[in-house]
Symmetry: C2
Subunit: 598 residues, 2 copies
């Protein structure tokens, strides 16, 4: 079965050969699972992705949700697809059996969710938010809140949102103005406006649970005064049935370049003074709570970017293998037959960009998901702590570096198809438009860069960063003795040293915060590319080992991994030198630029 | 007057301070002109761009042309805008007065056309093709053909197209199959199909003249057997009135990601066996003729890319100066007021990317247009010859390097606006979609790279390339003695040496054509970035000189040029090292990649 969603052989490689996911089944939480149950989950995801999500992906892009007198209308086909996903139990797949879940490892689940995302990014957007919202209520909610709001989300009857952004504040959550007034019954009344709320209104579920950042009247200014509220679209009666419409109104839909099937809304809270919200977690600790959902969303944004790049790559590869055009430079005679364009060196270059970034990014996203599993279920406390630390430092990389390089991959998918790629007859133009959102939402990549350098690298006096370097050095040492790998191991070793030295230099002036953070974007690319080199060296090391005993039919697959590693080490990794040089000398071209000269 | 189309102050700088366009008025052809007439032309272009082209630009994107029983329908507002452009005489602006033209220098005209393009790229597409087609018929047509086809195009009554691409051949014109059968009256009957024909059908003009590549029956295979034909949509009666509909049918419209207001068509020639065409120029010399139009189109594609980047930059700058959000890193206290985002270092970085690429690309495009003027009107034959040579080597750079870096600029325009930039409420998302076409059409950038290295750099044993290096060295020498410029002069000198050495190394193996051309795209970026450095050093040198005596109100403008030069030299130019290193060692990662491993 050839799929243009993801290479299932590669997914098996990543899960079982690279990440050793079977090892997870030895842990108590996953004891009911086996490679067979994992594969069944992957097969199911692939089946529903192909049968239910893929067929209406283009239509969902062409026919955006509309806002009429009777509310927001989405495509019926999307509702059917989401209902099928719900029926399979995927929404609760990672949750406790007691909550109706399957206790599937998050890393295996993300692989499943990635397949669905590749088929229909816009539809997957609703699921991502619902799964994240349910998780957040489960984690911070009271037993009653879990029963009332989390369980229906896990059952797929309610969907969720993250209601953070306000028109005047954008990424600056310190300036969130939505207020919450305590009511006599212990609930709150919210007043304010939110914008860019994905899934903020639709007809795809019975109810919508907005997890809303707001400020209890009298709370401190800034992020220290933010609390988190559960604001349902419909209030819930004591018996669990839907009650009256809450006072949260859809003031408008936002029309986007891509991701068009996911509604993006302007929401108005408390226009009639009666918007009921319920405090989730402790007052004034809302941002800390919300960060749990934001981090999950950020890693899943990376996964979405990787999957758009991946399916685009497979479409471009399929085209390049079947489209004949032109001749090799040494055989230009017009009487000779045209060749498949995959034989042209420049087309191979474009495909290598895509393969390297798409497969490498998916590997990194699944590695990050595995860290989530380890953070909760690793046997040793130290291993759980290490996983949490690594996850902290890798989250902005998974969100921002992955979305940067995967947009480049989507660019190359279109370029491989030439004029055809620019038309709406092929999906690569949609992938490109959809993928353009990923460097923007869930915190722009510029914000992620500041988070990486300003918070994560300095976390616990650099403990997370040091741990990341250690992990990379372990791979380097393991690769040194593997045939054909020693040169790449040496290249990555040099890169890690460069990253380490640059970071040390930067941190010496961490107290001059403007200067320290001025070129944070360069730092994100630097660290991201070193991590990319690491993930490719690790893949190539595993592949080189497997190649020794691989069946003839498996040779090309493993050699492809070696080829992509070569491409990354030769064409991509050397780019870090320029970024490191600018960082090390605290180049202030941008920082010192006077706005009136721009 | 603040315009978000182009900075008129910058345009004056480029035309009068950088390129000394007033000098042109000393030439006989331009003796009727003066800086005043040039400025009048620019003002007129700006006025009609603002009043007629800009207002329907978003609508033209949203409401694509439709194909119905009565043909293709475009927006009435677009027809009105094009009619206004026609009435001003811009279509024939560069032509002889005897042909109804103004004998405006091409460089000044391109500046005018650029303003119109910034306002409405899709509408400008029809004009670009008409102007190019008229020029081609004027150059190669018989007096009767000029009278019958060229003059009505110059009058804007007829529009033109370039009908080259066929579905099975794409960029491989050697495989064009459309055939032409001689008829008794000296005309031909064409049979075949073309695809991606921009402006191939519409209701914007009385008639459409398709300049069509086809193969006279029995002609040699490959490009040596291609001839060029005039194929009108409506035949022309002896008295010049429109006759019957010719047998060229619109088989379909192509729906694109951007450039949506420009029809892109599938054309079918001779379905009824009666498609009349007229040979233009000599038989079997069609491609050589067509290259005149293709080269003009390629430089104008570069101009279009530059203008989309430019107007996007001005929109982003305007937003960044007025949008307040966040605080400096050293003053995070929430009680302090948020600052305009233009004060954040990372936003300044994004704006510098845009400024450097947009202004630098426009400078390069106008320089190339000036070479066209010099090729035809320079006093000395040697100067005309030099201009022709430089134009040959710079054409792929203007098309491909400019469209690459200007798409990056359009990316940054959107990123500057964050979530708002991704919505269709702001035009930057349209600029980004429109600009994505430019690396594809008129020969993909991969094709341009092969043209640059395979043909242009080796042209006349490297004469064009040597001349380009000489021009760059002249700038370097002039800049060495200018205050604050010597460091940049040295940096560019090193870059030119690196380019020269790399080119020498490559050419030693030019006979191994596959290996020689394998990394042509790297070579295009290398040469492009060195040319970019040159154009910025030259602008900064002129600005530094002017600063000495500039009025206070002019200081920020000139300092902005120095700032952008600094950015290019510090952040961009060092990137060439990596590309040159891969090229010099004939890296064969892509060339040797086996398709089955991709």
């Amino acid at each position: 079965m050839t799929s243009l969603l993801v290479n299932r052989r590669d997914l098996s490689f990543l899960l079982y050969e690279l990440l050793d996911s079977e090892e997870l089944t030895e842990r108590e939480r996953f004891a009911g699972h086996s490679r067979e149950t994992f594969d069944t989950a992957l097969d199911t995801a692939h089946d529903i992705a192909t049968e239910w999500f893929l067929p209406h992906a283009a239509a969902a892009d062409e026919h955006e949700p509309t806002l009429g007198a009777d509310g927001v209308r989405c495509l019926p086909a999307m509702r059917a697809a989401l209902a099928t996903y719900v029926e399979t139990g995927f929404v609760a797949a990672t949750q406790d059996e007691a909550l109706g879940g399957m206790q599937l490892p998050f890393s295996v689940f993300q692989a499943c969710f990635g397949i669905v995302t590749a088929a229909n990014t816009a539809a997957a957007g609703y699921l991502l938010l619902t799964q994240g919202a349910a998780n957040l209520v489960r984690r911070f909610g009271s037993p009653a809140q879990i029963e009332t709001f989390c369980r229906p989300m896990l059952e797929g009857r309610f969907f969720g949102t993250m209601a953070l952004t306000e028109p005047q504040a954008g990424s600056a959550l310190a300036d969130v103005r939505t207020t919450a007034e305590p009511a006599a019954d212990g609930s709150y009344r919210l007043t304010g406006g939110k914008i860019f709320i994905s899934g903020g209104d639709h007809d795809l579920a019975e109810n919508i649970i907005h997890l809303t950042l707001a400020r209890v009247r009298g709370a401190p200014a800034g992020v220290a005064g933010l609390s988190l509220f559960i604001v349902p679209k419909y209030l819930i009666n004591a018996d669990g049935t839907l009650g009256r419409r809450n006072d949260v109104a859809t003031a408008g839909l936002i029309h986007k370049m891509g991701y068009r099937g996911t509604t993006s809304t302007v929401l108005s809270f408390g226009e009639r003074g009666d918007c009921v919200g319920y405090l989730l977690g402790r007052p004034n600790h809302g941002l800390a709570c919300m960060f749990h959902m934001m981090n999950e969303a950020r890693t899943t944004v990376g996964l979405g970017a990787a999957m758009l790049a991946y399916t685009g790559y497979l479409h471009a590869l399929d085209y390049a293998r079947t489209r004949t055009q032109g001749r090799p430079a040494h055989a230009k005679h017009p009487a000779s037959p045209p060749v498949p364009i995959v034989e042209h060196a420049d087309v191979k270059r474009m495909l290598l960009v895509q393969k390297t970034f798409a497969e490498g990014s998916l590997a990194l996203c699944l590695y990050a998901a595995r860290l989530v599993d380890d953070a909760f279920t690793a046997e040793e406390e130290s291993a759980r702590g290490d996983a949490r630390l690594l996850l902290e430092v890798l989250t902005p990389v998974v969100k921002a570096w992955v979305s940067d390089v995967c947009l480049e991959a989507s660019y190359q998918s279109m370029q491989t198809l030439g004029g055809y790629g620019y038309t709406r007859d092929y999906p690569v133009e949609r992938f490109y438009r959809d993928n353009r959102l990923n460097p923007i939402h869930e915190g722009t990549n510029g914000i992620q860069a500041i988070d990486l350098l300003g918070r994560k690298v300095t976390l616990e006096d650099g403990a997370a960063f040091t741990l990341l370097l250690d992990r990379m050095r372990t791979t380097i040492e393991a690769a040194r003795s593997v045939e054909r790998m020693s040169g790449y191991a040496e290249a990555l070793d040099q890169a890690v040293r460069r990253l380490s030295a640059t970071t040390h230099t930067l941190r010496q002036r961490a107290d001059e915060s403007d200067r320290f953070l001025a070129n944070a974007s360069l730092y994100l690319w630097l660290l991201g590319h070193v991590v990319g080199g690491w993930i490719w060296l690790e893949q190539a090391r595993v592949a080189a080992h497997a190649l020794a005993t691989a069946a003839p039919s498996e040779q090309a697959f493993y050699q492809g991994k070696l080829l992509a590693c070569r491409y990354f080490m030769t064409w991509e990794l050397p780019r870090i030198e320029h970024w490191a040089a600018l960082l090390e000398r605290f180049d202030d071209t941008c920082l010192s630029a006077r706005p009136e000269c721009l």
